[in-house]
């Protein structure tokens, strides 16, 4: 890939990313301001019609749609997501405080999902229909068929209630990380396994593997050197996609199950208290995460793929 095409690609990705972010804020804005009535939600329960109408005027809710959206988007760009109704602090601050816990949990979960899923995927794909392949395949389909929050509850029952071995809620020590990260690693590792397995299986049947085998190279060398190099692209992009899934909501239910102090739990608390500024900020920040991760995965894919083709 030469420089001009790379920068053109980066620019196109940046433009697409910003467009999607604009779309998210538009959807959130339409839902929050046009369908819902912020004034009625913000006013005290016993407020009269006139008081609500006055509040609506104060908030600028009687202005035309485009003007309201422009004002809204402008304030978002300045980092003003409004005031949390429940904590009486800027909504953005509340969300950014919860962000590190979510990033820690998802990254640890992703590392184990990636390592475990890839390793098992390569081993199973190398020996299709073997006992390992059949077992791992069935287990991964099962893991993908159960709700992830239910798997979290199951881990709590087994390891915390019955064995009394591990903490179940909050973030007090590194041990609190084990159960929620395992739940994430199992579910997302299962999908990594599925894709790496089929990629390895496909590579095994290609001519270069046959040539290597007929040269008399040991099977282990073929698998871990030649095949792995060709499945690495699938592996990395799959793992990237799993991170997108986690930040797109999958990790959030796990946070609620384990009372993990991240964005997911914050969102559900905000939802039950009708704290829309925090809810909006959380969706937009998580959305930005998803978009940036998508971009990085795309870039990585192009980089690795072109290097392999050039080699």
């Amino acid at each position: 890939m030469n420089h001009s095409s790379l920068s053109a690609f980066l620019l196109a990705r940046l433009r697409d990313g910003l467009l999607v972010l604009l779309l998210i804020t538009l959807v959130i804005f339409v839902l929050g301001h046009m369908i819902g009535d912020p004034a009625a939600l913000m006013a005290p329960v016993d407020a009269s019609e006139q008081e609500i109408a006055r509040l609506r005027r104060q908030l600028g809710l009687d202005r035309p749609f485009t003007e309201q959206f422009a004002t809204y988007f402008g304030s978002l760009l300045r980092g003003d997501f409004g005031q949390s109704l429940w904590q009486d602090r800027p909504a953005l601050t509340v969300v950014l405080e919860a962000l590190p816990a979510t990033v820690l949990l998802t990254l640890v979960g992703l590392v184990f999902a990636g390592l475990g899923g890839s390793l098992l995927g390569v081993l199973a794909g190398a020996r299709p229909e073997s006992a390992l392949d059949r077992c791992a395949n069935f287990l991964s389909i099962t893991a993908l068929s159960v709700p992830n929050f239910w798997l979290g509850l199951l881990l709590i029952v087994i390891f915390a209630v019955q064995l009394g071995a591990l903490p179940t809620s909050g973030f007090t020590s590194w041990q609190s990380l084990i159960l929620p990260a395992s739940a994430l690693a199992i579910i997302h590792g299962a999908r990594v396994f599925q894709l790496v397995r089929s990629a390895t299986f496909e590579e095994m049947t290609k001519p270069y593997a046959l040539v290597a085998r007929s040269k008399g190279l040991p099977e282990r060398l073929i698998l871990w050197k030649h095949i792995l190099r060709n499945t690495a692209v699938t592996m990395l992009t799959t793992i990237g996609w799993e991170y997108v899934r986690m930040m797109g909501g999958a990790a959030f239910a796990i946070e609620v199950v384990f009372a993990w102090p991240g964005i997911g739990q914050l969102m559900i608390h905000a939802a039950s208290r009708q704290d829309f500024p925090v809810l909006q900020a959380a969706v937009i920040i998580a959305g930005a995460f998803v978009i940036v991760t998508n971009g990085i995965v795309d870039l990585l894919y192009r980089y690795l793929d072109s290097r392999i083709r050039a080699a």
């Binding site: 839902l31 239910w150 239910a253 969102m267 559900i268 009708q274």
Partner: protein
């Protein structure tokens, strides 16, 4: 070209007639295990249709003296296969009653999502140009958005009602249908029988409805079975988080949420409904794999 249902029947017949047999006994095993999944799905559907009338007990009947009984225990009322909850209600009866709304929401959302995805996908693939660009951009943008979070926001603003759940869930799945159907339509559009139909003066509508759609029906069916599982898991997630279906309605996701408070004293309340949901989605996944393997589709 036959009726559009012919493709589905052909696919169904193939699913129960394994084509690749390594060992005859293995072949029998595969069919039998598949049969078990089909029987399980039909049983759940039967309970959903009858709305819990066939359940051992009235799901709402409370019994003060039989609270939090573990599975396989008896009360003065009789035997409780899966135990009772904090008010002495029979858990199995509650789960069977919950099958109705769980399956209803899953199926309706799936059909709506499929209808949107298939129509837009066919239009994009058949007409190309600006229509194609618009539909594909829309589906890409939607795939790039954290739709589950948007769904939480949507349901918080509009209120957690079954209707709203059924409105938002299809938006999670239509892009998958649109992408598949667009690619298939592009492939079929240049097929000889489509050209022949166009040459004999068939309208666009006739070509799309009776020439192109029947030929991709098996693939759409495979995807629909997979997506039904996804939608059911998404509904369970929303209900578990408290923004989906609300009590006194019952779905499996809601039963798991209700059992969560009693995890330390009565694990079966949260775990058992999850097993029933997991088995249902697993059965759907097994079925779709068999469909895909025998109809040569890579969905």
């Amino acid at each position: 070209m036959g009726k559009w249902s012919d493709g589905v029947f052909e696919c169904w017949n193939n699913a129960f007639k394994p084509q690749y047999s390594i060992i005859p006994s293995l072949q029998r095993f595969l069919s039998w295990s598949l049969l078990i999944w089909v029987v399980y799905l039909l049983t759940i559907t039967l309970f959903a249709l009858t709305g819990g009338d066939l359940a051992p007990y009235d799901p709402t009947a409370q019994q003060v003296l039989a609270r939090l009984l573990p599975p396989f225990s008896s009360s003065s009322r009789g035997f409780h296969w899966l135990g009772t909850d904090q008010l002495g209600r029979d858990l199995l009866s509650n789960m069977l009653a919950g099958a109705r709304l769980t399956l209803f929401i899953g199926l309706v959302s799936n059909v709506i999502g499929m209808a949107i995805g298939v129509s837009l996908g066919m239009l994009a693939g058949y007409y190309g140009g600006a229509v194609d660009r618009f539909v594909m951009r829309l589906s890409e943008a939607q795939t790039a958005m954290p739709m589950f979070l948007v769904a939480i926001f949507f349901l918080t603003v509009l209120g957690p009602k079954v209707l709203n759940v059924v409105i938002i869930l299809p938006t999670l799945i239509w892009p998958a249908f649109a992408r598949l159907v667009r690619a298939e339509t592009l492939r079929l559009r240049s097929a000889l029988f489509v050209e022949a139909a166009v040459a004999t003066g068939a309208t666009d509508w006739t070509v799309l409805w009776s020439n192109i759609l029947p030929n991709m029906a098996p693939r759409i069916a495979v995807l629909a079975v997979i997506e039904l599982g996804h939608v059911m898991l998404a509904e369970a997630g929303l209900s578990f988080l408290g923004v989906g279906v609300q009590p006194p309605s019952t779905t499996w996701g809601l039963l798991i949420a209700r059992g969560r408070a009693y995890l330390a004293v009565a694990w079966w309340l949260a775990i058992m409904p999850g097993i029933m949901l997991g088995l249902t989605v697993l059965a759907l996944n097994m079925l779709s794999r068999r469909f895909a393997a025998t109809s040569g589709s890579a969905a």
